[in-house]
Amino acid sequence: MEYVLTTQALSKHYGHFKALDHLNMKVPKGAIYGFVGKNGAGKTTLIRLICGLQSPSEGEYTLYGKKNTSKSLHDARRRMGAVVETPSIYLNMTAEENLKHQYIILGKPSFEGIDELLNLVGLGHAGRKKAKNFSLGMRQRLGIAIALAGDPDFLVLDEPINGLDPQGIIEIRELILKLNQEHQITFLISSHILDELSRLATHYGFIEKGHIVREISAEELEAACRKCMHIEVSDIRALIRFLDKEKLDYKIISDTQADIYGHTDITDMTVKLAEEDCKIITINEKDESLESYYIRLVGGEDYE
């Protein structure tokens, strides 16, 4: 498999604090790589490193096969665009001026394509409005337009839907999918909004305390996500006794509810619980979400 970005034991220390600790990851070409982790896990630090804003303390990374120590990394970096934390735009300029400015920095011979770019991100109507008067969503879109100005093959988005309204989230999602499917742009997206990420990502990297705890494709994740049976009963003690006897994996949700993992014979369970005078109030099957998979992976106690 061809990889756009790989990191080998990448570390970044701020004094004694290890923001990244021997992190290894691989972003396949053409993927939408969902980068998942809690606040302070090291997501933005990794993005800053690969964007060249900061230097690694240890380890290395390669971008399109060029090592970070190589002089040709600058050429590889021209193939990528990024929106790191807040959109990088001049607030006292209009959207059009911002893009013209980016074109100049890129050394493009003309301003051709600016209108198309503004239309692509849904800012066709706001080209002459000053960026300082933009909503957060509009700024985010302009940031993406600027990142797209260099016709990148690899786009890094740090929390791209933070602060967006529902309509804005849908538009950004559709834009990402469109760019990925029609323009073959590889994405690395960090996000806290796991539900939204699960609608986009083809690959996931779970980061915890500065290192990747698991890298998994969307297909593998789907297979790994355990199905469970959610049950509500009148006597939870009777249910626990039955589950322990049957050696089933379960999780108690409340005094009356539990999730049961693995296969169980519902008829048998109903009969056994009835013998103990325990009534089944509701029962339904449910899939484990990305969120619950993530919590199971990194531990839910300190999940923010």
Partner: protein, 274 residues
């Protein structure tokens, strides 16, 4: 680097602080010239334009501190410095392109100041009387000291990630330098001999005696060195046409430009940008 320079020039051309600075220098120079003209006509004295030709240098340090800190600080404040790094421009090119832009701002403001003084001053006072060589030397010193100021403020702006901190530090430095030059200038301008009032049997008379405030020896040399070395001291000397060591001033400016750029480049290359 040419792409970065073009981008910077477009930004500075549209910068409100730059346009206001040009207007402020125009008003300052006009005020100084018309005030002097009023004095000249009132007391029927002959005043030469030479003494007013570089009057704007008194405030150039403060003006440059505002323009440059706002210009460089905006790149950090709006996060746009990231765009430059992301598209593959090296940090050296980013730093040097900003320095060249700031230096050009300094040169434009000083040339503008001289042109305004000549345009308004020649009809009022006539052409400058100083020799062409002397004037060329002073103009060279003026340009170099403005570039030295630009170099110092650019270094502060590039190494400080906060726009408000950059603006505050630059303005503070410019004010401190201004008052340092005022103190140095007044200390060095003390006359060696003063007239002192002496009372003998109730009769007052004036006697000439050594001024205790007059600086001598190593202390005077140190004060003179700082007056020559500090950009504000250089500006004060040029503005008052009291330049003792014109070549030395130029050399000191070149030293400031070289040291600040080398140090700034070294630290900026290692700086973590957010």
């Amino acid at each position: 680097m040419s792409k970065l320079l073009v981008s910077n020039f477009i930004r500075i051309r549209c910068s409100l602080s730059f346009c206001l600075s040009l207007a402020f220098i125009l008003v300052w120079n006009a005020f100084m010239l018309f005030s002097s003209y009023e004095v000249m006509t009132k007391y029927n004295e002959k005043l030469a334009l030479d003494g007013m030709l570089f009057s704007f240098l008194i405030i150039i340090g403060i003006i440059l501190s505002v323009i440059i800190s706002l210009f460089i600080g905006t790149d950090y404040n709006d996060g746009t410095i990231r765009n430059k790094i992301l598209v593959g421009h090296s940090r050296q090119h980013i730093y040097l392109s900003n320095f060249i832009t700031c230096a050009l701002v300094g040169v434009i403001l000083s040339v503008w100041g001289i042109i305004v003084n000549l345009a308004i001053g020649v009809p009022l006072f006539g052409t400058p009387e100083m020799a062409l060589n002397g004037m060329t030397l002073l103009i060279a010193d003026t340009l170099l000291v403005c570039i030295a100021y630009a170099s110092v403020y650019n270094m502060i702006g590039m190494l400080c990630s906060s726009k408000s901190h950059t603006v505050m530090i630059c303005i503070l430095i410019s004010v401190v330098l201004f008052f340092a030059s005022v103190y140095l200038y007044s200390s060095l301008s003390q006359p060696e001999i003063i007239d002192a009032a002496v009372s003998v049997n109730g009769n007052f008379s004036f006697e000439q005696m050594p001024n205790p405030m007059y600086l001598t020896g190593i202390k005077r040399q140190i004060y003179q060195f700082f007056m020559d070395f500090l950009p504000s001291g250089q500006c004060a000397q040029i503005a008052n046409l009291e330049v003792l060591h014109p070549y030395r001033l130029g050399v000191y400016s070149i030293i400031i430009i070289a040291v600040t750029n080398l140090f700034g480049l070294f630290v900026f290359n290692k700086k973590d940008i957010k």
